[in-house]
């Protein structure tokens, strides 16, 4: 599985990428939408984990842009805000597969990733 992590907090995506790497999952990261799109053009990914609020292109629009380039890609959104009800409404609206609330545990993230890849 190859994963793209996008969040404006570099320390967060760096650490998360290393922890996923320890678990055998190849992860790359970007801190804004433009950098994420560059990576998408250069490499293949199965799944993207996106923060909702990122500089420049927001997470929702970034998902749409990635989806146009890679229709098979799956998406998980991470956010610091909202309730499960907000996420349910947001998922229906944006077509995002999962929302996770920060701080996220690695086990929860892995579980959602594996679940998505089996779909």
């Amino acid at each position: 599985m190859r994963v793209l992590l996008v969040d404006d907090e570099q320390e967060l995506v760096e650490t998360l990428a290393e922890r996923l790497g320890i678990r055998g999952i190849e992860a790359r990261w970007a801190t804004n939408g433009d950098a994420a799109l560059e990576l998408i053009d250069q490499e293949d990914f199965n799944l993207a984990v996106l923060d909702v609020k990122i500089p420049g292109i927001n997470g929702i629009n970034l998902r749409k842009m990635i989806k146009e380039k890679c229709p098979q890609m799956k998406f998980i959104f991470m956010t610091g805000h909202g309730s499960q009800d907000d996420f349910a409404a947001g998922s229906a609206e944006t077509g995002v597969d999962y929302y996770l609330l920060k701080p996220v545990t690695i086990d929860e993230l892995l579980h959602k990733m594996n679940e998505l890849m089996k779909k």
């Binding site: 907090e9 650490t15 290393e18 922890r19 500089p55 420049g56 701080p103 996220v104 545990t105």
Partner: protein, 227 residues
């Protein structure tokens, strides 16, 4: 009883809401980084238990990361505390430099989201101003919020001030995309209400790409003179 439909009250509540939402978002991010760093240390210890060598430099990197985030959280908490105490007294003697530093600190995340850099360039003198600190922060935030949508290609806004015997001028520069906004956009009713409370005036230099905010050094004297 407070009139919740009053422009001034709505503006104050909106400002407080925006700032606390932004602060809570930042705290969540700090917690997320510390959480992942703790998890990574746990991963290293599990690897070490299995006999895999751990580079001490990696441990230092993670330890430094946690220290940096604790310092960041401390700054966020200090800013939140200063914002909360800005309503303690209606009129108060304030250090203008500290207030502008606070305004820049509170606006940091909003600037980051727009990929704009805020550069505070304070001169050496530190004027004290008797004003309403909360309303001044609110007005500076509103000016910054408007200005952050009008930067030049460098996407850097400069903030500074100067003072004379009667007044201080807060100058925001680098607004190459500044245009004559209609009064419904800027300065709108919310800004106008704050300008009245602070006895301040605002003027835009479209050609020079600047917004200037002029405040009396003692708003109480202005109120006395007007009455």
């Amino acid at each position: 009883m407070v009139d919740c439909t009053d422009v001034g009250n709505v503006s104050e509540l909106q400002f407080f809401g925006k700032m606390t939402a932004s602060i809570s978002h930042e705290i969540k991010n700090v917690m997320a980084i510390i959480n992942e760093s703790a998890g990574l240390l746990e991963d290293y210890s599990l690897m070490a238990e299995k006999g895999m060598p751990i580079d001490p430099e990696r441990l230092k990197v993670v330890s430094n990361r946690v220290t940096m985030q604790i310092q960041r959280a401390d700054r966020i908490a200090k800013n939140m505390n200063s914002l909360a105490h800005s309503v303690d007294e209606f009129h108060k003697s304030i250090d203008l430099r500290e207030t502008l530093e606070l305004a820049v600190g509170l606006s940091g995340r909003f600037a980051d989201m727009r990929s704009v850099r805020l550069e505070f360039q304070p001169p050496s003198d530190v004027p004290t101003v008797i004003t309403s600190p909360f309303h001044l922060l609110n007005l500076i935030w509103r000016v910054l919020d408007f200005a952050m949508d009008a930067p030049g290609v460098e996407k850097t806004l400069g903030l500074t001030y100067d003072a004379d015997a009667e007044s201080v001028k807060i100058r925001l520069s680098g607004l190459a995309s500044l245009t004559n906004a209609p009064e419904t956009v800027f300065p709108a009713a919310g800004e106008a209400a704050l300008l009245r409370i602070l006895g301040a005036t605002i003027y835009q230099d479209i050609k020079g790409g600047e917004i200037n905010l002029v405040l009396p050094k003692d708003v109480r004297q202005q109120i006395t003179a007007e009455s």
